[in-house]
Symmetry: C2
DNA sequence: GAAGCATAAAATTTATAAATCATTTGCAGG
DNA sequence: CCTGCAAATGATTTATAAATTTTATGCTTC
């Protein structure tokens, strides 16, 4: 048995997915499952991903597995070493800093472009996205943190809506990728990071700045939002 | 035999690679070959990539082929349709515009950051990269255009060096990806685009601006460089 | 007789399994 | 500490099976 991870029982792995996959291909199904386990930290950074183990754990052949792993490699969640198989992409403080910095740069750029191209329809979309997010609890349990998948989904949609008006699909894709990789860091130190601040207020302030057409303030708030998230995680001694 | 593409002879495909592959894995070798054929336009935009045909043409099994195709899909050179296989990513004027715009944004950003973090070592690296590029002919044949792989390689290195000092590996990676996708457009209309202008002078002007620490001018020149390249291609009626 | 639709047949992609080849890794012996 | 062997693991091929899309066919209806 692989050290550092108790062999996931197929049924248990299945239970991670909130909704039935119902994806037409095995690869996509596997991709979703692996991605979820990667982001949640169930598959630990640096852990070796042996084909034999994966085939057993996820009950799949190697063709769809390799396919899914390759896609995840392109996203930076998995690392492929020549002739030495795959491993879960390791994490480091320096990478966290670099990803955060890059995300700040790109999202600042994207938000500027979006606000230059602002339309009533986009503003309404943003208001709706924020409204939904604000009405969803961050944690399923008020006492102790318990990840709320709905909140995570709405949070992601909110930030994507913010830059969706920038006019560049590639840029949005790059931002998404950075968001994914940073999401893993959030999850890894979630216990430490919660509930350290009022993210809801920060979101509200950003929306207000956008609606006020105050580009500099909106950009400043958004960057501080990401920077603070990173700072909290960087404080975590377990990283 | 598949219509629209003469069966690439293995030896001929091999000849496309400037250096012997010598890659340890079949996948990487295939990846390089496919990439070269994709960028060169030998594999035509929109063309279907049937496994049977590819296995025959590249003399490989489906495992490494699927692996290579998946990586290329992540880079936007190949498109994967659920249950309908792969096809060469189609091209369009609108995508060309979008890629160019995004590249201008990201490289402008990266160049600013690089110049903020300028060091003598970086400036020297840039001078060397430019020197090498300037001493290499654009075309192997002065009469009629004949692609010079050395020039292409050095050109790529020059532009990468320009932003290499930006401090963000992810950002450099994004720029690389955009460069690849745009390179394909250049190749597709190379006959039309050559020799429409003095790119060497443009490179020289950029280097001068960088060494003068004139950020605004350097960024302006670089963006115009990319925009003009796109404009020339957009004039091509064959696109 | 032509258009539309359901069904059947063919082609293709996707997935599994088994076997082979190549490389890395751990370990023993020098 | 280095060398070389052996076992483990990854990479690749081949063959085959299952699932899905595409194409062809024939029937009904207007």
């Amino acid at each position: 048995m692989a050290p550092g991870l108790s062999q996931p029982d197929p049924a248990e792995v299945q239970s991670l997915r909130m909704n039935a996959p119902a994806s037409s291909t095995r690869t996509l199904d596997l991709y979703d499952k692996l991605r979820e386990d990667l982001l949640s930290g169930r598959l630990k950074p640096g852990q070796k991903l042996q084909m034999r183990f994966l085939m057993e754990a996820y009950q799949a052949g190697q063709t769809p597995l390799r396919e899914a792993l390759n896609r995840l490699t392109a996203e930076g969640l998995v690392e492929a070493r020549e002739q030495r198989g795959f491993l879960v992409a390791p994490v480091s403080r320096s990478e966290l800093r670099e990803l955060t910095m890059t995300r700040c740069w790109l999202e600042a750029l994207a938000l500027r472009k979006a606000m230059e191209a602002a339309t009533p329809a986009w503003e309404e979309e943003l208001v709706v996205a924020h409204h939904r997010l604000s009405r969803t609890p961050r944690s399923l349990n008020p006492e102790q943190f318990e990840d709320n998948p709905d909140w995570e989904r709405l949070h992601r949609i909110f930030h994507r809506t913010l830059i969706s008006q920038c006019g560049s699909a590639p840029l949005i894709g790059f931002c998404d990728q950075l968001a994914d990789r940073l999401y893993r860091y959030r999850r890894l130190s979630i216990r430490h990071a919660f509930p350290s601040r009022k993210v809801a207020d920060e979101h509200q302030a950003i929306v207000t700045a956008v609606l006020d057409r105050d580009v500099e303030r909106a950009v400043e708030l958004l960057m501080r939002h990401y920077q603070q998230t990173a700072d909290v995680i960087l404080e975590d001694p377990s990283l």
